[in-house]
Amino acid sequence: MAAPPTTGPGSVAVDATGGGPGRPRFRPRRSAPAHHLPRPAARAARRGVLSFWPQYLAISPFYLVFGVFMLWPVFYSLYLAFHRWDGIGEMQFVGLQQFHFLMDDPVFWLSIRNTLAIWVLSTVPTLLGALVLATLLNSVRRFKSFYRIALFLPNVTSIVAIAIFFGAVFSNNFGLVNAILHMAGLPEVQWMSNPWTIKLVIALLMTWQWTGYNMIIYLAGMQAIPGEVYEAARIDGAGPVRTFLRITIPILRPIILFTVVISTVNGLQSFTEPQVLFGSNAANANLGGPGQAGLTTLLYFYQSAFSNNDFGYGAAIVWAFFVLILVLVVVNWRLVQRGRKS
């Protein structure tokens, strides 16, 4: 999830708090200070462009790196998606051929199904669990910061380490989970062989890593709700559940919307988890385990671009995937918005 080289757990965390891009609903509160922009800014209107040279100079190091290593690459990968190229020979323009091939590629669609299944299996428990834990945490007075630290800890550990750990614990033959099942007299489960248990283990791993992170975001939102609101509810005779459903959830809606968007963007980008879990399967190291059940779209992308050196096809996969993410974000957004109206 912590999509390299930049987007990471923390990134999203705070981004959440500040109200990120494409979510103007968050911004008004935060950017309010920007409106009574400092006197320097007020003076700005009367100043010419050149008088701002220190500011342009100040932002230039970042924009230089950003332009070369982010802006240009994103557009160039779109360009690549219309070509066939192995990185060495002649680049050949093929129009929409890569995308046609993609539409008929069963492995691509398998990877999409896997990715979506893993995403649903991880996002739903993560967000619900985070909401419940945040509510509980907001209600207690003691040990608050201990709980927060302990529950956030999974988010700063590396996915590689976690994936290795889960691989060991859910191992078919000697894993802790099967040992416990065996001692309890239950049949052992071939976790790493069955297509659904493979997805379940990956989803569990992601849930473990991301619940505390989302909890912190919800908690921050809850702490911002003034106590008077609850007081009023109490006077009106509302119980805790009713208060939670009628007050906490509606007020948190923008934050929930944010976490849903972020979980969609991040959760669909699972790569490291299956790559490390099934990396030891030398025969098909990057193919996502038995029956390719753990082959996520980004794993397939990696396979196409960097194992097969098929840069054109890799670019086509990642762009098609991006469109899919976009569609899902919009659908989720609509769903949450409609929930508000009803």
Partner: protein, 279 residues
């Protein structure tokens, strides 16, 4: 929060019980990692498995060191993470100051581009990034890991919020009266006043660089010259059933970060939370 508000919430004891269970789930992998790393693989394979710490950590670590250049890769990671963290802090803070306090022409437009790119999946850029590194001859070198970390707009976004709210204009005005130019305002006023935000961003950038896996996997084509996470994954492939050895490596790879986090956690989480509350 008022007392009445609290009394509306679930009773304290139940809340604590559920939270403690959640904490146990959350920290169990750390405990079990130590159990596996300090025992022999045979002890772990046993049914019922050994659940207490054992005396074999050093043996396991020795096996790790025989298998891969563990400390070399750790030094590589440390170097990359430190350099990119320092650069991110410098480059992002000065740009954030410009964005937060000056309404220069094109400001909105330039900032908007950052916001849009923050939401894009980074994999869109990976193939061309790889090609650029190939042309520069940086593939397989640690240099290749720095620019993509710097190109992340998140730091600017986060610091800009902090500077625009946390650094009073009066102070900047006063500094200007005293003849401080842009650079001196940045150095003497903005940097000292944004220390908490910088601390947060620093930890965040460092953790990200330390844990990064996909880009090093792609860019560090020379198997002799890798970072920690790549080394871990390689060890896992090479000794897939020798759990105690692999987990010993996982333990020493994760311990520094967990320690750093434990030391700064309060500020780190407060930083993130405070932003939200003020938001």
């Amino acid at each position: 929060m008022t007392r009445t508000a609290r009394s509306l919430r679930p009773k304290g004891l139940t809340a604590h019980l559920v939270l403690i269970v959640a904490v146990l789930v959350s920290v169990f992998p750390f405990y079990w990692t130590i159990v596996m790393a300090t025992n022999t693989t045979r002890d772990i394979y046993r049914t019922p498995p050994k659940v207490s710490f054992g005396p074999h950590l050093l043996d396991n670590v020795r096996t790790v060191l025989d298998s891969i250049d563990f400390f070399g890769s750790m030094l590589n990671t440390l170097a990359v993470a430190s350099v990119s963290t320092v650069l991110v802090l410098l480059v992002d803070s000065i740009a954030a100051f410009a964005f937060a306090k000056f309404d220069f022409p094109g400001r909105r437009w330039l900032f908007g581009v950052l916001l849009v790119f923050m939401m894009l999946p980074l994999q869109l850029a990976i193939i061309p990034q790889y090609l650029i590194m190939m042309h520069l001859g940086w593939l397989g070198t640690l240099k290749a890991l720095i620019p993509p970390a710097l190109a992340n707009a998140f730091g600017i976004f986060w610091l800009r919020q902090y500077v625009s709210g946390g650094v009073p204009d009066e102070l900047l005005d006063a500094a200007r009266m005293d003849g401080c130019g842009f650079l001196r305002q940045y150095w003497h006023v903005v940097l000292p006043m944004t220390r908490p935000a910088l601390a947060f961003l620093g930890i965040y950038a460092f953790v990200n660089a330390w844990n990064d896996y996909v880009w090093p996997l792609i860019a560090l084509v020379n198997p002799e010259h890798i970072t920690l996470q790549v080394a871990l994954a390689q060890l896992n492939v090479g000794r897939s059933t020798d759990y105690s050895v692999v987990m010993a490596a996982v333990l020493i790879a994760s311990a520094p970060l967990v320690l750093v986090f434990a030391l700064f956690a309060r500020g780190f989480i407060a930083g993130a939370t405070e932003g939200a509350v003020r938001g």
